[in-house]
Symmetry: C2
Subunit: 500 residues, 2 copies
């Protein structure tokens, strides 16, 4: 590889490699800050991250980069270089269209706003956060104008997280899904079956949770020679380089579900990064193609593998071998029902498989309206609570469990939330296609995850950013985004559990 | 601070801050490689370290740096800036005098040579390593000529590790020390007292060793809010920034001494870095002033605190509370004697407090002769063994336990070894002065280490590189390098133990 590159191509590839290398250093510092870094070093370390990030930003927007784009775009025979140039051009345009003073103000406001949000959440005080959120909305509207868009201003923001997906797509799909899910929720709530999650909350020592989680990660095909599992407060997976993709988790000794399902979820993200083609290493293409496709991978493992009956039938003995005494009398059927309880709740990240998407709808509708000047920041708390009541049937008592719960908006991440719901739909759609190639239930039942991992690698992982999200989706499933599979999957699953 | 800086001063300080920040990222990557990094990521990570190191090297030798040196040297009223400029100038000269092609060849050879050394050591094959070592000697001789020196070519290399110390100084001090130590060794070997180290090698679970080590680190005043203790293969301490100075250790369940004395040793290094004046943060002065002074700090804690009778009298109960059953019957006197056994052995890093310096003399004499063309690389194995026999009375059976044991020469670190022996002498000399201010034995006996830590911080730590090593030594002790204190300390200690 690279033998046939001309001088400019070689210089460009070295240039983006250097950018990736700075990125790797930044990622390691971020991992360290969230796992092991002692308190007193945090401030200095954050400044180092800022310095290196600025360096990467400078390289992404430099005249040298502009030169490469002009010289190579459409003038290279190497597909990796062509796609890399396209990625770089997108970044370049995004940044060069924002006046640099304005961008600097924004970055500085971002940090401030996130800090204030954290305090406001703790104090349950929306008003102290409001002026910052208003500014974040203003900046994002202005940036969207700089970037340009077709039809809807919100499309410019969506493009940052899920390129190719537009308001038209979402507005066609989301309301239908919402309707189906709320119908399903009502049927579940009318059911006489009442799973008992209290069965699951016995004391479960951390070491034993860890041993079980490691065993499952291992069975999923997560490569420990190219990764590790550590403890953190807000779990994440992170790729440092292709040979070093780490998973983190959190242990709640009163509820093993946090660690077990959390580790499997992050393990799904990590499998994606571990299995990108080595040809893409240290290029701008060496990463998941979008937030939504990434989430489809974590959710595939979490919902379509580890929350299934087949999975627990196969792993219940292993689970019990790690679980403390108090779990030994829990019958399999009760266990399976309990880990799949559906119950509307206020906090998105604690939501069950069914209501999760409804939380996303609330956010999507509100942020789209904010960016489109249809509503004002000051009215958000009320509007949030109204929508929660409408879709989930419960009304937050305060903003802490309402509009203040998520960090995203405080950092200006508008257009991000839809990715989560898209991830659910993609996962269901992939699952449906996979069933044509594999007897998925049987494979899960046998614990033969390598077949699943291989299918995902072959169809999705390997491409990194070589393919756009919808290109992946349509290429794999031979159809456009189709939410039917998610709704069908949930209906079938819960009909069986709740017997309606 | 910084309020009164002019524009050039401010730019310079930002410039060196950025260099330090790259250094911090490099250090974290190095720490990670030696503690937690999974195998498959190592190659990529090493390349990232190389890229960032090159960046720092470019900044240290840039025209911009040259400009700052010319503009500010002798033209600033700020002492920190003046000293920083002096450090930068030294680096600048060192690098700019070497033709860049030659330096590049050297760096590439270095990596190769270290790898070959590792293999040669494993295979006990000096001949495969010899051509690389010959080249490393040649390069270092050439570099020494580029850099220039007074009197002895080896002085140019010494200056890299212990600025101010010359062959004249060493040749005045080392032979006398050697004579005293070999005399002392003979007296010990004639003694009827025979410590029994087998008392110490009972099974000692890692977790219990760790708990005891953490407790001692804590008592030493090591700040865990600004550091942590991790496990590694070759223990080290590393400063990432002033609020994040980490210690690593190794647990041998058959010999607790590795972890306990090792942790205390590295803890001594860490205390130095943790207590440098915050005014020096992110300047070229934010670090220990030399290898020798650094080693004086680790050795102070290891030998003048933790290997003393007073220390063990105070901590023996704590020790036993962590130690397994098999230690409970060991009498204090036998324990203390056993941890202080003197016994000539082949491997430097396993040597006792007395014979360690003799190992260093062997290396110093050989490397000085090599650089001065008095001996040839091919004759090293024989010469090494001859000197070991002469000074320690034992002859290595092979090169693995002889000339191949240390990594230093393979990486071109000639002039480094004397720092270890200097560290011993500095420590003894500091100890002698400290005794005038504190009743050190009583303080240790009470476990009141804070007084010792404070004294070391006030007299040594705080200055970082603001003072040169001999400036520190002479400033604190009011005399020149004087090896009498080390010899006296050892004689007094071993007379008591070995009763001669």
């Amino acid at each position: 590889m690279g033998e046939q590159w001309n001088r400019t191509e070689e210089q460009f590839m070295n240039y983006v490699k250097e950018m990736s290398q700075y990125g790797e250093a930044i990622s390691l510092m971020a991992w360290d800050l969230r796992t092991y870094a002692p308190k007193n070093g945090v401030e200095g370390r954050s400044d180092v991250i800022a310095t290196l990030s600025q360096k990467v930003h400078q390289m992404a927007t430099s005249d040298e980069m502009k030169g490469y784009i002009e010289a190579l775009k459409g003038h290279t025979k190497d597909e990796i270089i062509q796609k890399s140039i396209e990625e770089c051009e997108k970044e370049y345009n995004k940044h060069s269209k924002i006046p640099s003073d304005e961008y600097k103000e924004y970055v500085s406001l971002q940090a401030k706003s996130e800090a204030i949000w954290e305090e406001a959440k703790e104090k349950n005080d929306f008003d102290m956060y409001r002026p910052y959120l208003e500014k974040m909305v203003e900046y994002n509207k202005r940036f969207a104008e700089y970037w340009g868009y077709e039809k809807h201003i919100y499309n410019a923001l969506l493009d940052n997280f899920e390129p190719g997906v537009t308001v038209d797509v979402l507005d066609e799909v989301f309301p239908a899904v919402r309707k189906s899910l709320t119908d399903l929720l009502q049927q579940i709530q009318k059911s006489d079956v009442h799973p008992d999650p209290s069965l699951l909350t016995g004391h479960f020592p951390k070491e034993q949770q860890e041993a079980f989680s490691l065993e499952i990660l291992n069975r999923m095909g997560y490569n420990f020679e190219g990764g590790r599992l550590d403890e953190t407060v807000h779990p994440f997976a992170i790729d440092l380089n292709q040979g070093d993709v780490r998973v983190t988790t959190k242990y709640d000794e009163k509820d093993f579900r946090t660690a077990v399902f959390g580790t499997i979820h992050e393990g799904g993200h990590a499998l994606y990064e571990q299995n990108i083609s080595p040809k893409l290493a240290y290029t701008p293409l060496a990463g998941g193609t979008s937030m939504g496709i990434h989430e489809s991978q974590s959710l595939f493992w979490e919902n379509f593998v580890s929350r299934t009956e087949a999975f627990w039938k196969n792993h219940y003995e292993l689970f019990l071998s790690h679980a403390p005494e108090s779990f030994q009398h829990v019958k399999f059927e009760d266990f399976y029902r309990a880990v799949n309880e559906v119950k509307p709740s206020f906090i998105r990240i604690e939501a069950d498989e069914l209501t999760y998407c409804l939380h996303i709808m609330v956010r999507y509708e509100l942020e789209k309206a904010l960016i489109n000047d249809e509503i004002e920041v000051k009215d958000l708390p009320e509007l949030w609570n109204d929508k929660m009541e409408e879709y989930l049937g419960i009304r937050p008592k305060n903003d802490q469990e309402g509009v203040l719960q998520d960090v995203h908006w405080s950092g200006g991440a508008f257009g991000y939330f839809p990715s989560y719901a898209l991830g659910y739909m993609y996962a269901a759609q992939f699952h449906n296609t996979m069933k044509k190639d594999l007897d998925v239930e049987e494979v899960i039942g046998k614990g033969d995850f390598e077949q699943i991992r291989k299918w995902l690698t072959e169809n999705i992982h390997q491409y990194g950013k070589m393919k756009k999200p919808l290109e992946i989706l349509e290429g794999v499933t031979n159809e456009k985004l189709n939410p039917t599979y998610l709704v069908d999957h949930l209906r079938e699953k819960y009909q069986k559990i709740y017997q309606f």
